[in-house]
């Protein structure tokens, strides 16, 4: 069976390694073949960008060589797909090569799209790429006081990022002795400070305690950079001195160009994870249109299910498990305390008060990630 994995991010990498271990014999005998096509020979630990933006990690800590993370037996090629020919079970890459498959998994992730809001890309700092996170940190270093507004677009990658960056900014400015000179002003698209009700229930009092103001039902409409005003779809205007954004995201452009899904999100069965209308194409991670968090843990848990199912398809001709919507997110509540939220399609999260122990576990996970990507954790 020819298994093709498109995308070398967290989901694709965990899946490839998971499959390679389950199919050791099949790979040796040629009964199965695993090919991964990626746009880069590097693998980035994306959650590290949050820390880079406040000077708590350096760029080199975010990367490993992709090939070094993969099990032997995986045919890894840096050659991104440009054409998906689903009716013929094949793809065409940038170099012009054709790859045929029996089963394909698309795990190409998502990209920030601040350009969708007039004035946002030009006037706001963000941290979803190495370049923007470094730029944001330099801007923070030169900021000596004023009103810092956090503006949140949807859908976005990492549902906890708006809260985390707000709490981390609070501690960053406090450490610089600027707590009295900086006013943090958080905004959020719905009627509470986070989509998860129980997370909102602890986050709002935490903000009250720290003196962080918030405005709910605030969907970014436009930014007037000359006047330094942020306007919402709901008709509210907020002045800012420094604007930080968690921008809206889209799926990859190549998926839109190939007509696989509006805005690059591919219609996906929420439990079987197959592309709607296709039995041999599966979707993993941010790329799905499933109404759950676009987060590394989502990709991880989906990859676990797909690994078990595709291996079973090779060995028994049928998948064996369903994805239950499981998501696990750490929530940094400052520089030295954190909590977590775990939930699935049936069960909402019940986050506890932040502790130093959870923060240090998150710090450890920032290193353990590389074991996780290898499919060992």
């Amino acid at each position: 069976m020819k298994i093709l994995i498109v995308g070398g991010g967290m989901g694709g990498t965990i899946l490839a390694n998971n499959l390679a271990r389950r199919l050791t014999n099949e790979l040796k005998t040629g009964k199965a073949r695993i090919t991964m096509l990626s746009a880069s020979d590097k693998h980035m630990y994306q959650p590290g960008l949050l820390y880079l933006a406040v000077g708590r990690m350096t760029p080199d800590e975010l990367y490993r060589d992709q090939a070094s993370l993969l099990e032997p037996g995986i045919n890894f090629q840096v050659d991104p797909v440009e054409e998906f020919q689903l009716d013929n079970n094949r793809v065409k890459t940038k170099s012009g090569k054709i790859h045929e498959y029996d089963v394909m998994v698309i795990a190409t992730g998502s990209r920030m799209f601040p350009e969708g809001v007039p004035g946002l890309a030009e006037n706001a700092e963000t941290f979803y790429t190495e370049e923007t996170a470094l730029k944001m940190f330099k801007r923070l270093q030169s900021f000596e006081g004023g009103k810092v507004v956090i503006a949140v677009g949807i859908p976005h990658k990492c549902p906890m990022a708006p809260l985390e960056i707000t709490f981390m900014l609070h501690d960053y400015f406090k450490d610089r002795g600027l707590a009295d000179k900086v006013q943090l002003h958080y905004t959020y698209p719905i009627g509470r400070v986070h989509s998860l009700e129980n997370v909102a229930k602890w986050a709002a009092p935490e903000m009250d305690k720290l003196g962080i103001k918030y405005e709910t039902f605030f969907n970014i409409k436009e930014v007037d950079g000359a006047k330094k005003i942020l306007r919402s779809e709901e008709g509210v205007e907020i002045n800012y001195d420094l604007l930080i954004t968690i921008p809206a995201h889209k799926g990859m452009e190549v998926l839109e160009k190939n007509g696989l899904g509006q805005n690059g999100w591919i219609p996906t069965n929420r439990t079987k994870l197959n592309m709607e209308g296709r039995t041999n194409v599966f979707i993993c991670g941010d790329t799905t249109n499933i109404p759950i968090s676009k987060a590394g843990s989502t990709a991880h848990f989906e990859a676990d299910v797909l690994g078990e199912n595709i291996a079973a398809m090779v060995k028994m001709g049928t998948p064996v498990r369903e994805y239950d919507g499981k998501v696990f997110c750490f929530v940094e509540a400052g520089k030295d305390r954190a909590t977590y939220a775990m939930f699935d399609y049936q069960n909402p999260p019940d986050p506890k008060a932040p502790t130093k122990a959870v923060h240090w576990f998150k710090m450890a996970y920032n290193k353990l990630y590389w074991i996780s990507a290898r499919g060992l954790l």
């Binding site: 949807i154 859908p155 549902p159 698209p189 719905i190 009627g191 989509s195 998860l196 009700e197 039902f217 969907n219 779809e233 709901e234 509006q262 805005n263 929420r270 109404p291 759950i292 968090s293 919507g325 998501v327 939220a341 939930f343 399609y345 049936q346 909402p348 999260p349």
Partner: protein, 76 residues
Amino acid sequence: MAEKKIVDGRGSFCPGPLMELIVALKSSQIGDELEVLSTDKGSANDIPEWVRKVGHEYISTTEDNGVWHITVRKTK
């Protein structure tokens, strides 16, 4: 021509049915009708409240076997 779309937010705690609706409205045309499916009864209050606040048209809410169907129309 205006379309009728389903926004399936069942089982969605995060981002949740209202966020799914807001995203879906962005890529809809004026006049389109969107029916949100939600297993969270809070949606029956949250969605009409936001729709009125932002100026779209709230049409109806019904409940069937624990699934709320909230219909709105994009007006701007």
